[in-house]
């Protein structure tokens, strides 16, 4: 499997994230990098020329960073590759670089809108649209996982946002150590507390964000919410929203409820939960 990694408007965070992959060494034995901007000894131009001339075959093209709407180079490269992966939310949806610049987008989306640089109908040679490994940055195990699947001939199933279902069909909320506080509607007294759920007043997007951060931990040891930081919803098209540490309230209720929860159900359950919450959960130690 030949991999070509190209960067555009990025912070290089997805590269450094991938370097944390616990099995990076074995990944390097399974696939070969034609070029990576931070890692290769030689320059980019020759490799890209050879690819475009058809002298070198690209099995997977990985793009890190948002792109300009008129980036013909990337378009051409995407046509040459069997599979195209957008690594990180910038390449997937445009993200921060696209916020104040209309000429910037993701490969197949611009935020919510399908289209992006390649157009909504784009399908790569291998028969898949752009595989969006969203996240700011993408989790190393997600990126490596997709590369490994493709290299074994397994095509990942994608969700309606172009993301591999395997990593994006559950919420950040899954596996969060604060779930019990969520269920009983217990808020932390302040940031820095081990206890309490961050959904109620610190803007946690865990129940509204598809990601497996609390199942496949970061750096093998932790996650944002376990470390007391709210989830900011970085795998979703609308990251970064405004007011990242706030829970917008509407008539005493969170303005947005967890995915799939009805307003009525929420009101009924949360009232009861609060009243019957076990004492042990309310104590700070």
């Amino acid at each position: 499997m030949n991999i070509l990694w190209i960067q555009r408007l990025s912070c290089c965070g997805n590269t450094h994230s991938l370097l944390n992959c616990e099995t990076f060494d074995s990944l390097l034995r399974e696939v070969s990098f034609l070029f990576h901007p931070s890692l290769s000894a030689e320059g980019e131009e020759e490799v890209v020329e050879d690819v475009l001339k058809g002298k070198l075959k690209v099995d997977i093209l990985l793009v890190e960073g948002a792109v300009k709407v008129d980036d013909e180079r990337i378009k051409e490269l995407c046509r040459m590759a069997d599979y195209v992966m957008a690594v990180g939310s910038c390449a997937s949806y445009g993200n921060i670089p696209a916020l104040k610049d209309d000429s910037v987008c993701g490969l197949q989306y611009r935020f919510k809108e399908k289209g992006g640089l390649l157009g909504s109908d784009f399908v790569s040679k291998g028969g898949l649209p752009v595989i969006n490994v969203s996240g700011c940055p993408a989790h190393p195990e997600w990126t490596a996982g997709v590369i490994r699947s493709l290299s074994r001939g397994i095509k990942p199933e994608l969700d309606s946002w172009g993301r591999p279902k395997e990593f994006y069909s559950s919420l950040t909320h899954w596996g969060c150590t604060r779930n019990e506080y969520f269920e009983w509607k217990i808020e932390p007294e302040s940031l820095g507390s081990k206890k309490g759920c961050l959904f109620y007043n610190y803007g946690c997007r865990g129940p509204l964000t598809y990601s497996s951060c609390n199942v496949i931990l970061w750096n093998g040891v932790n996650s944002k919410t376990r470390a007391g930081t709210p989830c900011f919803g970085c795998t979703e098209f609308d990251f970064p929203r405004a007011g990242l540490f706030e829970t917008k309230q509407f008539a005493g209720l969170p303005a947005e409820l967890p995915i799939g929860v009805s307003k009525r159900g929420y009101i009924m359950l949360s009232g009861i939960a609060k009243v019957f919450a076990p004492e042990r959960l309310k104590l700070e130690d």
């Binding site: 290089c12 921060i96 670089p97 700011c136 820095g192 900011f232």
Partner: protein
């Protein structure tokens, strides 16, 4: 006169080098950094806490330093924010660990492959294949786990908030962090300097760099072989803004004898030039180099002091300063982790409660990032950011020229005879174009 353009690989982001050749020597050099992502503009009009999430995204390798500069600037603007000793220690620890991982990756991934390009046979250091190359990545990722233990993840965590940190941890977590740091220390001693700790410390006492072994020795030998021990000097002016006791002290060195204190009101940033997306920054009107060489020189690292005396601010000395700083950082992290045990019961975060709408003010945050002095300035009105301004380390080193002076890195390349040497000298500043333009 011949003009040559080179696109640089193995840097953070994209950078272009334009060399003007005359009689086989570089007569002029320009560092071009492409256009920016507009992060400062993205921040305007947002609730001030959002800056804690957005500013780390300036850079994938030193995002944590941005978080620290940001939280300091916010605390300065809010006023009267007290921190527990616990929060202070943890912030210092994670900041330094980010530098450690940077330095290790940089040397093995960015610096050593240049010697392969010069024709040296260095199998162990070959990208994607070399044993040492892979080992460096794995050691760096081990170190990073320390940040994740306290901060939730790396890259891009936002666990420092006005008043402290969001995480609450146990003494077992601290012990695990200590174990991870010991592994880095082991790598430094075995692979980088190739000797047991007592031997290293006795060399360190007098800065006897000649006695170092391991990959550092290999690097020094290669520098002499290719004539890189005296080239790549810039103005010799060095500056450090942040402070982490005892391994980083702020100050500046004008190139003459005396070390001076730093007055941040003398720092000025002006718009860049037509050829680069980067701005330029001057201290007292003069260009200054920032980064490990400046830091270790100003903090009195015995190795760096002697090296600097013998070879000035050359390519070799700049690279060695970064490598030897790994020791200073690692031992300081160990000390701080050890003292953390006694503060574990302190609160992680104490925020003097104020409604965000009531917060109006201006603040500055200065820290040392891997590449040098990083400054964030923020203006907040009724809880909303009205202005955000970032001066990154790379702006000091890689920013363009002004009417009077060439940029620091530009100056360092004048007179060189080999284009790969020019790239190497430029890389010795640990080029980060994503930071430079942000």
């Amino acid at each position: 006169m011949r003009i040559e353009k080179r696109l640089l690989a193995r840097v953070e982001g994209t950078a272009q080098l334009e060399l003007v050749w005359e009689n086989g020597r570089i007569r002029d050099a320009r560092v071009r950094i492409p256009s920016s992502r507009g992060i400062e503009r993205v921040l305007e009009g947002r609730p001030f806490m959002d800056a804690l999430v957005i500013t780390p995204r300036v850079c994938g390798i030193c995002g944590h330093a941005h978080l620290m500069a940001c939280v300091k600037a916010l605390e300065d603007a809010i006023g009267h924010v007290r921190l527990s000793q616990k929060a202070k220690l943890v912030r210092d620890i994670t900041l330094m660990v980010e530098m450690i991982q940077n330095h290790i990756k940089w040397f093995y991934l960015f610096v050593m492959p240049d010697f392969i390009r010069l024709g040296e046979k260095l199998d162990e250091f070959e990208p994607f294949r070399g044993k040492r190359w892979k080992e460096a990545i794995s050691v760096a990722s081990e170190a990073i786990k320390v940040i994740a233990i306290f901060g939730g993840q790396w890259p891009h965590s936002s666990y420092a908030v006005p008043g402290g940190i969001t995480s609450n941890f146990t003494s077992t977590d601290v012990s695990k962090a200590l174990a991870l740091v010991s592994r880095v220390e082991g790598f430094f001693l075995e692979s980088l300097v190739g000797m047991p700790v007592e031997a290293f410390l006795s060399l360190r006492k007098h800065g006897s760099w000649e006695g170092l072994k391991g990959d550092v020795k290999l690097f020094i030998d290669l520098c002499f072989k290719y004539g890189l021990e005296r080239v790549g000097m810039s103005y010799g002016r060095l500056l450090t803004g942040g402070e982490v006791f005892p391994c980083i002290t702020p100050g500046h060195f004008t190139g003459e004898k005396k070390l001076c204190s730093l007055n941040i009101s003398k720092i000025r940033e002006a718009d860049g030039s037509p050829y680069s997306g980067a701005k330029r920054v001057r201290y007292n009107g003069m260009p200054y180099e920032t980064g490990p060489l400046a830091r270790q020189f100003l903090s009195g690292n015995p190795f760096v002091k002697r090296l600097h005396k013998m070879y000035g601010d050359s390519y070799m000395v700049r690279v060695l300063s970064r490598l030897l700083e790994v020791w200073e950082l690692t031992s300081t992290v160990k000390e701080k982790l050890t003292s953390l045990y006694s503060f574990i019961k302190e609160p992680s975060c104490q925020i003097p409660f104020q409604k965000p709408e009531r917060i109006t003010g201006e603040g500055v945050g200065i820290v040392e990032a891997a590449r040098g002095t990083l400054i964030h300035r923020v203006s907040i009105e009724k809880g909303v950011i009205t202005r955000y301004h970032i001066i990154t380390p790379s702006v000091w080193n890689l920013g363009p020229r002004c009417e009077k002076y060439l940029g620091v890195a530009e100056k360092a390349m004048i007179g060189l005879e080999n284009p790969i040497h020019a790239e190497m000298v430029l890389r010795s500043f640990d080029v980060c174009s994503v930071c430079t333009t942000h």
